[in-house]
Symmetry: C2
Subunit: 307 residues, 2 copies
């Protein structure tokens, strides 16, 4: 199913950072395309809507984290591929639903019309439901993992996605729209809305490699830090960034009087927090004997978006 000679990433010494990154991204994109093929069935439109959003590029950060943490813990990257795809499906569903008129009402996503602009609200809602479900179907159909690993990984994903994770974060975010909020509430929102899935990605990578407790907890701390820094960078970019880079209208958060890390602490202080989190995250990587320059450079790349 996943030809080892084609997909197995042999090690950083064999390829440059961007080669490795592109190899991971291609693996994921090819597999996503295979998992959700165009089909001539009456509900074709919902498949089109799912494919439109799922295969529209995206940096595949979460998938890369699954695959690289699997490798860093001594696992078989090919076996982790369904998990990497599932995490991208789940991320994509959340974007489709968040963009809907009754939620954040965003017309643009990754520089293109949002799913509901392209396919209508009902189809977009269903495409999101379909991707959330397909994420679980994909993990549960994994052929190269033991049932115990599948149950553990899918369980982690479900907790991260549900009302104690992403659904909860979006709920609190919407509740506080247009209100001034505390740093504590802001961190709570992002821990659930963005952080939970990034932590789940890294944890699932460890699970596919049957990593020990020490590695799992190190990975989790790493993910917590980059998850938060990732969101702070988004907030900074919303103030100083370019429409082209974000693929959505710049300043939209400010226009809604939304409290963000950048409005709360100011851009300079926010940048400093990002740097600290980045350094702490990289320090945690020392626990992984197989960590090589790829993951350090990848971690930096998440931060360099603010330049």
């Amino acid at each position: 199913m996943y030809p080892a000679n084609k997909y197995y990433v042999k090690g950083f010494v064999m390829s440059s950072y961007s080669e490795r990154l592109n190899e991971y991204i291609s693996m994921v994109n090819n597999e996503l395309d295979r998992l959700l093929p165009e089909q001539r069935i009456p509900q074709q439109v919902v498949i089109d809507a799912m494919r439109y959003s799922l295969l529209s590029g995206g940096k595949r950060i979460r998938a890369v984290l699954v695959l690289e943490f699997c490798r860093m813990c001594g696992g078989d990257v090919a076996a982790a591929l369904p998990i990497a795809c599932a995490v991208e499906m789940l991320h994509c569903y959340s974007l489709i639903h968040d963009d809907l008129p009754c939620m954040d009402d965003d017309d643009l996503r990754r520089g293109r019309p949002s799913c509901h602009i392209a396919f209508g609200e009902a189809n977009a809602l269903l495409a999101g439901d379909g991707l959330l479900t397909l994420a679980f179907e994909t993990i549960l159909s994994s052929r190269n993992l033991a049932p115990e690993q599948i149950v553990k990984a899918a369980g982690v994903l479900s907790k991260a996605a549900g009302y104690q994770g992403m659904v909860g974060g979006q709920t609190v975010d919407l509740q506080n729209e247009g209100k001034p909020i505390s740093g504590e509430t802001l961190e709570y929102i992002h821990a659930l809305k963005t952080g939970a899935l990034i932590r789940a990605a890294v944890q699932m990578g460890c699970i596919t490699a049957k990593a020990d407790e020490g590695l799992c907890s190190g990975a989790d701390e790493y993910a917590e830090k980059i998850g938060l820094s990732f969101q702070i960078i988004d907030d900074i970019l919303d103030i100083v960034g370019f429409a082209q880079e974000m693929g959505k209208p710049v300043g939209s958060d400010r226009n809604n009087d939304k409290t963000t890390f950048a409005t709360l602490y100011g851009v300079d202080k926010a940048r400093q927090i990002v740097k600290t989190l980045n350094d702490e995250a990289k320090a945690l990587l020392k626990r992984f004997p197989k960590a090589n320059e790829f993951i350090y450079e990848f971690t930096d790349s998440l931060t360099s978006r603010t330049c």
Copy 2:
């Protein structure tokens, strides 16, 4: 976790049909209440919305099917309880999303304001997402099933829920709204929209009991027949029923010029089809040595709604 002496249903001889039915329903309602407790967390509103819809009564037909097919295949009913709860969560999510303004735009559900009327559109959307996710989390957290059983059951549920099942059925249904459609298309819609989850419930009941292939296929055929008859009855009730019985405005399908089994075949012919399906379904139950009067009476009760 599930005290056997309290919950295990010992057999029909010990209790009347309605006692057994109420015992099943209480098991499920108590467990649903336990699985989604009220909590003092910032996202309380989405938990309230989930509980509002999930614990609003409902006949728990799908949960009863899980539990009774588990018992009929020699399984431990208590071990099947998380699965029974998951199928009700999934059913509930589909109702919440189907009621949304961009979908069927129904203001009433089970005689009360729909979730989005009571909690607003955004919270209803999130409550649906939360319940869909919690359905998987619940199965994946099962303590009394082997990982192989959990993977199999959750896999069945994911297929039934996704674009090849419920999501697909709702897509085709919306696409054809206000258009005259063929009997074939109508059967396709209902097989996916209603039938898939009923079949999944019965299949999952068999999986929890590690039933053999013969029982599983008999159960699947049974579910296919009652799933279709169940939908035809809904269509008949939409013409002849009472608002009180349905808990939603009667004649809503007719007012939308919607093709249903009742408008397509006429009420009398539709009733005849229901009777045939019901007889065929009951004939299939003969394969189950442990089938007793409960399941026959339960099957009849699904049909008697047309009287």
